[in-house]
């Protein structure tokens, strides 16, 4: 089931981007992302916020990395200084805290992963068109079920 590996490819850069995160400072919108439905109350949510299909597909830098320690079934990330516009989030739950998306011996993802709008893929990551959402001026809230 090699197609599942595209999920890994898609999410691998979520972890990698911590060292190269572009920090787009722009006094303006704020975004609160609620992560719900978490089954294992340990580890961290690791993901990226992106503002283009290219960035979503890993071909451009993300706007912001996301990393939220998990100690309960619902945790949240607060992101300030965003320019209003279209964004998407992709993430995985690094349950074992090793910084990588876990796989079984056949390479299947075994840690939860999710996309904004709770978009789902079909043997691969959800598509940008399904995951994109608008951030408007002022305070915004977006919720993602992680499981």
């Amino acid at each position: 089931m090699n197609n599942f590996k595209s999920i890994l490819t898609a999410l691998a850069m979520a972890g990698a981007s911590f060292s190269t995160a572009a920090v787009a400072q722009n006094a303006g919108s704020s975004l609160t992302v609620n992560f719900t439905g978490i089954e294992d109350k340990q580890g961290a949510i690791m993901g990226v916020l992106v503002d283009s299909e290219a960035a979503y597909d890993g071909k451009a830098a993300p706007v912001r990395p996301l990393m939220v320690a998990v100690d309960k079934a619902e945790v949240a990330a607060m992101i300030d200084n965003l320019a209003p516009g279209t964004y998407a989030i992709k993430l995985f739950h690094d349950v074992d805290g090793n910084g990588k998306m876990g796989t079984n011996p056949y390479g299947m993802p075994i840690e939860p992963f999710a996309f904004s709008n709770n978009a789902v893929g079909n043997m691969g990551p959800a598509k940008w068109t399904d995951a994109k959402f608008d951030v408007k001026a002022g305070a915004n809230v977006h919720s993602i079920v992680v499981k």
Binding site: N3, F4, I7, P105, Y106, P109, I110, V120
Partner: protein
């Protein structure tokens, strides 16, 4: 003569014989609509009911439970599964206790079943079913039908599939408790529906086929003892494997996977020119391997194996001239069509210490081979099997083949019974000292029946028969608890 020629020659002679003794090709296309209930839909769980004793007498003190699993929901809205192997698993609990028999059945509550119930459509892909709009596939267990067998493990009843995890069920209420995770990093792993259980309860199983297969070893308490990938030199499809006391035996038929796509069966090709290979792996050192060559055949099921003093390995199985059944006929069943596939034939395999391998035909039609599990891995004389293939795609008889006398002790339930796998229930010391317990679908009565036969007197017919209030579609495999 080169190995290749020898293989070709053996193959030709072998199946020429098989064709002569099962001359039922004339029946191809004859499709009595009556068997449709074998693959009908069940809409709801079956609450526990007392079955009606139709004939015979319940042996005093008999206290046993037969769990069986099989697909029982194939169609939703305008859509249908594309293969018999892809329906939702319905686990049935037949219990005989205090002179009475009861039946209860519950569907395994899988992500696939939940999603398809919500959508009122069959969308998840499978062995012969394509992926359709609305499918959600984030891992193999999203497509898990949990419909092939069951096993007891550490006090849990596990519903087994083959491409994904076992599903935990409560053995009393049949309530689904979620996927079984033997170890955190072994989620979403394939686990065949044919674990081989040693007499002490140690379980060996395989998962997956391709460049390698995953070897599972469980302790008698159900915990994981060992988990390791072993390489294979052929992407052969296998639904079953077998074992002796000392070895795992992987039969690699020339039905091979060319890649990965849904439906799974469309990624598999029949390449008889490759012959069949048998890989023998030492249980104590999975790197110690031997390979044997056999003529081409297709198969689903094997029975337990054993080794003799000189190292000769024997096991038996039900083999077909080609995989037409799995490729096409089992799909056609859901459309009410009967495509005559090669009849499965009972065959003993002999792997000699000098590296030569042979097949010895019992020359009888047989499927769903089972044996006395108390002597798994030791030499044995009998193999229980279904037989009596004629007007319908399904067998009508149960039998016990005696390898030493070359004789089948058979009971034919008649044209209006479709016969499922029968399992051995031990009574006392000695192979076959006990009963055979199994089910049939009585087409005339429109009801499922539970039967108990004396394992040493199969041809005398059931010592007791109970009838349920409903017909249930046919099951694949089960376990005695």
């Amino acid at each position: 003569m080169t190995d290749f020629n020898r293989r070709q020659l053996l193959g030709t002679g072998f199946f020429a014989g098989a064709a002569i003794i099962t001359p039922d090709m004339a029946l191809a296309g004859a499709s009595p609509a009556g068997w449709a209930s074998a693959v009908a839909d069940i809409e709801a769980d079956i609450p526990e009911e007392t079955m009606v004793l139709m004939s015979g007498k319940v042996p005093a003190g008999l206290n046993t439970t037969l769990y069986r699993n099989g697909p029982a929901k194939f169609r939703r809205g305008e859509s249908a599964a594309g293969h018999w192997f892809d329906g939702d698993g319905l686990v049935r609990k037949f219990r005989v206790r205090d002179g009475k028999a009861t039946l209860a059945a519950r569907f395994v509550d899988t992500p696939k079943r939940r999603l398809e119930t919500k959508l009122n459509a069959i969308v998840q892909p499978g062995f012969g079913t394509p992926s359709r709009a609305g499918a959600v596939i984030n891992g193999p267990d999203d497509t898990n039908a949990a419909n092939t067998s069951v096993m007891m493990s550490g006090g849990q009843l596990l519903a087994l599939w083959e491409g994904g995890s076992p599903v935990i069920m409560d053995p009393e209420t049949l309530e689904t408790k979620g996927f079984k995770t033997f170890r955190r990093d072994l989620r979403q792993m394939p686990f065949l529906a044919h674990p081989r259980v040693e007499p002490d309860g140690t379980v060996w199983n395989l998962g997956g086929n391709g460049k390698g297969t995953f070897v599972w070893k469980l302790n008698p308490d159900g915990s994981l003892a060992q988990a390791q990938m072993v390489p294979l030199d052929r992407n052969s499809y296998f639904h079953d494997f077998t074992a002796t006391a000392q070895h795992l035996i992987i039969v690699m038929q020339p039905w091979v996977q060319d890649g990965f796509k849904f439906p799974l069966s469309t990624a598999m090709s029949w390449k008889p020119e490759l012959g069949t290979r048998v890989l023998v792996i030492d249980k104590n050192d999975l790197t110690k391997r031997r390979m044997f060559e056999l003529p081409s055949f297709a198969f689903f099921h094997l029975a337990d194996g054993w080794e003799e003093k000189d190292g000769t390995i024997r096991f038996d199985g039900c083999i077909e001239a080609d995989p037409t059944f799995g490729q096409r006929a089992a799909s056609a069943l859901l459309r009410g069509e009967y495509i005559k596939a090669p009849t499965p034939m009972l065959t003993q395999f002999v792997l000699r210490p000098d590296g030569k391998a042979e097949m010895q035909m019992a020359r009888i039609a047989a499927e769903f081979s089972t044996n006395d599990k108390r002597i798994a891995g030791q030499s044995r004389r009998f193999t229980t099997h279904v037989t009596g293939y004629r007007q319908t795609p399904f067998p009508h008889a149960i039998a016990s083949w005696d390898w030493s006398k070359g004789r089948d002790d058979k009971f034919d339930f008649g044209d209006h019974h479709l016969v499922e796998e029968f399992l051995f229930v031990a009574k006392g010391e000695g192979e076959r000292n006990g009963w055979l317990m199994g089910t049939t679908l009585n087409l005339k009565a429109g009801r499922t029946e539970l039967h108990l036969l004396d394992a040493r007197r199969v041809s005398e017919g059931p010592v007791a028969t109970w009838q349920a209030s409903v017909p249930l579609p046919l099951t694949f495999h089960g376990t005695i608890a």
